[in-house]
Structure formats: structure tokens, C-alpha cells
Amino acid sequence: MGEFIMEESILILGIETSCDETAASVVENGMLIRSNVVASQIKSHKRFGGVVPEIASRHHVEQITLVCEAALEEAHVTWEEIDGIAVTEGPGLVGALLVGISAAKTLAFAHSLPLIPVNHMAGHIYANRFIKEFTFPLVSLVVSGGHTEIIHMPEHGRFELIGETRDDAAGEAFDKVARVLGLPYPGGPEIDRLAREKEEPSPLNFPRAWLEEGSYDFSFSGLKSAVINAVHNAEQKGEHLDQADVAASFQESVIEVLVTKTMGAVQQYQAKQLLVAGGVAANGGLRHAITKAAEEAGIELVIPPIQLCTDNAAMIAAAGTIDYLQGKRANMGLNAQPGLELVNI
């Protein structure tokens, strides 16, 4: 208030359907959430112990216009005020992505609006901009069910991949270990809960995969196998293995590698800011450990609140706002890119 020069604000409608959340959101200037609607399918997939792609696609068709309508209503905006439609182009499940893309193309066509394709991982990173404006260069750790990446950003809209997983994503390892322990889906939060309930240190010690000196890549398959073997060996010998011990040691191993490598990247790139993004950023153990490490290193840390760590469309609209300003556009031939990578430097 008290501003005499009226800056025209940019309103972007974001649409996200890459996995099992149907989401739409209106974001102002890439930093202010006007509405953020998510229709979660988690209850439907729970009985299968994981996301079933065909069922996810079916739910997206049921929800897509409902979430778009709710996003516009909650934001109190009309189509005349919207400046562009941002949609997740990939990575994700192809059939699921296509529902959001088809809807986004139709809306862009119907209202003669620019269509902006957004990388889902860029979206996760930009969820942080709702909390704090970016300071460059920055380093971001992106951890989810499908991804474990360390990304260096010298400026808005530019991403350099400096480390990634060579096998399982961190979230994937969490889910698999949870399954072996007989924990309900989704397994990540269950392991986190067990690990946090644990008061004494766990007697178990699982390996850490550091890989070659100076590498920022990850590998979690060895750790996963070690956990599975430990559980099976105990079963065969008829020994009791404490669930919480396994969960705590496994989580500790994952977190130590994630945090150590991320802090190494922060130092090498002389980052001014450290961002954490993706579904696994909701993990309490990771939040605690990286907060401590960032404090010790004296670097500004940004972690979004949990509802912005999991998939949502506000983050797509936020990343899409940068693409919009940088003139990135798609035409009506836009297709889903299930294996889209985040590298453009």
C-alpha cells in the first residue's frame, strides 16, 4: 500500500497431473499463492501399495475441470485476468501428464492465452520462492519418489545438474524398505515416524555409498539391499529385528549422504542460498539434519512447508512465471515428456 506506481501483476494458472495429484493453482508474480487446489488420489492407490498409472489417469479426467474451477474461484479471478497457462510437461507418468496437458492446451486455445510448458522438477525448486526470494548462485537438493538431484542455479530459469542418483531415487528406497518392514503405503512418512520415535541409538549400521571422490552422484540400491538382507537374515534365523532400529539406521544412512554431498556442492559453488525441494523434503529427519548443517556452514536455508514439498500446481505456476517472462512458449502440439530432464545450461 502507499504505492503510487501500479505495477501490473502477472497471474499464471498452473496445472499439474504428473503422478497421483490433480492440481490447479493461481499464482501472482511467481511469489504469491492466490489459490492452490490439490485433489489427492492417495486413498485410491493405497490398496495397491503404490500408484497404478491407469487408475491415476482415470482420476485425473474426473477431477481436472473441478480443480481448475476451484482454483479460479478461490483466487477470485476471471479468465480475462489470467496471463498464461503453465502445465507440467514432464517428467512423470505419460498418461497422467496427458490429461493435464490436454486441458491446458484447451484452455490456452479457448481464451487465446500463452501456453507455458514446465519441468516438474523446476516446479519443486520454485516452491521455495513462496517462502523466500532467490539469491544466486544457489544450490538445490531435490529429493522425491522419482528423483534425487543436486542442482546449481546461476540465475532464474537456468539449471545445471551437478549430481543425480545412479539407481534408485531416495524416495523409492524409502518405499521399498517400508514394504520390507510391512509398513503401509506411502512408506516414507512411516519410516520417518519410526525413526523419530526411537530414543536410543540404533545398534544397526548400514553402508553409505560415497562413490568416487568429488562426485555429487548418489546410489541407494546397495543400502536398500543391505536393509533387505538384514531383515531376511533375521527372519531366517528366527531373530527379532526391531522395526524402529531398521528404520532409524536406514534413514540415518540416506540423510548423512544427502546432507554431506549437498553441503559439498554449496561450498564448491559458493552458493548464497540452499534450497530443499521434493516430496522427501517433508522428511523430519532430513529437515533437522540439513538445518543443522546449514547453520554450521552459515548459509541461508529454505525448505518449503510440507504441503508445498509434495506435488502441487502452485510450484508449476511459479516456475511457469519465470518461463513466461523469459518468453518460453509451447504450441498446440505440446506432448508429454515422461523422461524430461532438468538441464539447460
Binding site: R47, F48, V52, E54, I55, S57, R58, V61, E62, I64, T65, L66, C68, E69, W79, V94, G95, L98, V99, I101, S102, A103, K105, T106, L107, F109, A110, H111, N331, M332, G333, N335, A336
Partner: protein, 232 residues
């Protein structure tokens, strides 16, 4: 009334724009399924050619399946999003009923079919009456052998329609005898202007939000899960 008709439920991609009984434009391709890339540009092209703006469309008609899950979802998502955002009428038409229109002047039964793999077909039974197509049996997914046994009891010739008929021609002839069966190659793909024509005569849906494809079967994971529950 301007009608936009969209069919991406099977390999054929069809779009038509009609004003009452005049077809203003029609576009059909019958190549590999890449509706995700081709459908919206084709709609955009046809709208430009017919010089219509999106808000000048009064009704959107879409083939709701059965057919390719992904293909039908693309068409249905585009149709329902367009109808919702522009506050227009929306009509869904069975992809089998649409194909059956090609037999409008045939004297006998009309059997449209699409391959559903593992010996099964999506099919239904129709008949022409004064130029209109009347449904005789509900659309279904069924083992072709079971379906043919049922058709064997019919006392009139049957016209089989669909690009996939050739896959089963031998089996059909063997079961029904050649004299009862007719097919014609140019009548095997659905016509989008027939879709517009059909859609003009049907009642629009009452809830655009609830509009979904007609899959005729559960997702495979769900079928397996249900079977497991019953076994418990």
C-alpha cells in the same frame, strides 16, 4: 447451432464442425495413434478454416469410447474442458454407436467392433430403422467366440464394421457362414460429421465435471485386486 465434433477414441482421428445440417468442415486421418500431438492443432486448423472463434461453438460432441484408453481420455478431456470453460453444451456418444452409423442404409443387423486383445472385442448390436440407428444390444467387451455364438441365432444378415474386422474375418466367417456376413472397406472408419449429426440430436450432459470416458472395463490392477478380495 454450431457443433464441434471430436473423435480420438481409436486409431481414426476425426473432427467436424457443423452448423445445423450443414457440415462446414471435416478432417479425418487414419494413421498411427498420436492424438496427443495432432488433435489440438487439427481442431485449431479446422476452426480457422471455418472462420469460427471458440466462443461461437454452441455444442461440443465427443466420442466417449470404448477404445484406446489414452486416446479417449485426450478427446474427452479436451471436450469437457472446452465445454466447461466456455459454458457450452456437451454431448457424449458411444464410439460403437458412432461407427454403426456407417451401416445406416443396411438392411439387417449392424455389428461395429474394435479389437480389445486376447480374443476379446468391444462390440454392440444395432439395426437401422427409417434411417436412424437403433440399439439392439448394449455395448460390451466380450470374447469374440461367445459373441459370435450369440449372433448365430439371428435370422438376418449382419454387417460387421471396423478397421479391426479384418483381424477376425476368418473366425467370423467360420462361425456365421459367409452368406450372412458383409463388410465393406470404406465403411470401416468412423465419420466425424456423423458424430456431429448424432450429437445434435442427443441431450447434453447435466454435469460437465462428472463427464468421463466409457472404458467398459476396470483397470487391470483393479480387476486383480477385486479377485483377490473375493478369494479372501
Amino acid at each position: 447451432m454450431n457443433v464441434l465434433a471430436i473423435d480420438s477414441s481409436n486409431i481414426t482421428m476425426g473432427i467436424a464442425i457443423a452448423n445445423q445440417d450443414i457440415v462446414l468442415g471435416e478432417l479425418i486421418t487414419n494413421v498411427k495413434k498420436n492424438h496427443s500431438v495432432k488433435l489440438m492443432p487439427a481442431i485449431e486448423y479446422l476452426m480457422n478454416e471455418t472462420q469460427l472463434k471458440p466462443e461461437e461453438i454452441d455444442r461440443i460432441v465427443v466420442a466417449t469410447g470404448p477404445g484406446s484408453y489414452t486416446g479417449v481420455r485426450i478427446g474427452v478431456t479436451i471436450a469437457k474442458t472446452l465445454a466447461w470453460t466456455l459454458k457450452k453444451e456437451l454431448v457424449g456418444v458411444s464410439s460403437l454407436e458412432l461407427l454403426a452409423q456407417n451401416g445406416r442404409f443396411f438392411n439387417g443387423f449392424i455389428c461395429p467392433l474394435f479389437d480389445a486383445r486376447r480374443g476379446r472385442v468391444y462390440t454392440g448390436l444395432y439395426r437401422s430403422k427409417n434411417g436412424d440407428i437403433i440399439k439392439e444390444k448394449e455395448d460390451t467387451i466380450i470374447q469374440l467366440s461367445d459373441w459370435l455364438n450369440m449372433l448365430n441365432d439371428l435370422d438376418q444378415p449382419i454387417l460387421f464394421l471396423g478397421n479391426d474386422v479384418r483381424l477376425y474375418e476368418h473366425q467370423i466367417n467360420e462361425c456365421l457362414g459367409k452368406e450372412n456376413v458383409e463388410t465393406h472397406v470404406t465403411k470401416n472408419q468412423s465419420s466425424p460429421s456423423e458424430l456431429a449429426w448424432l450429437g445434435m440430436r442427443k441431450r447434453p450432459v447435466t454435469s460437465i465435471h462428472n463427464f468421463v470416458p466409457t472404458y467398459l472395463q476396470l483397470a487391470e490392477a483393479e480387476t486383480k485386486w477385486l479377485a483377490k478380495q473375493e478369494g479372501k
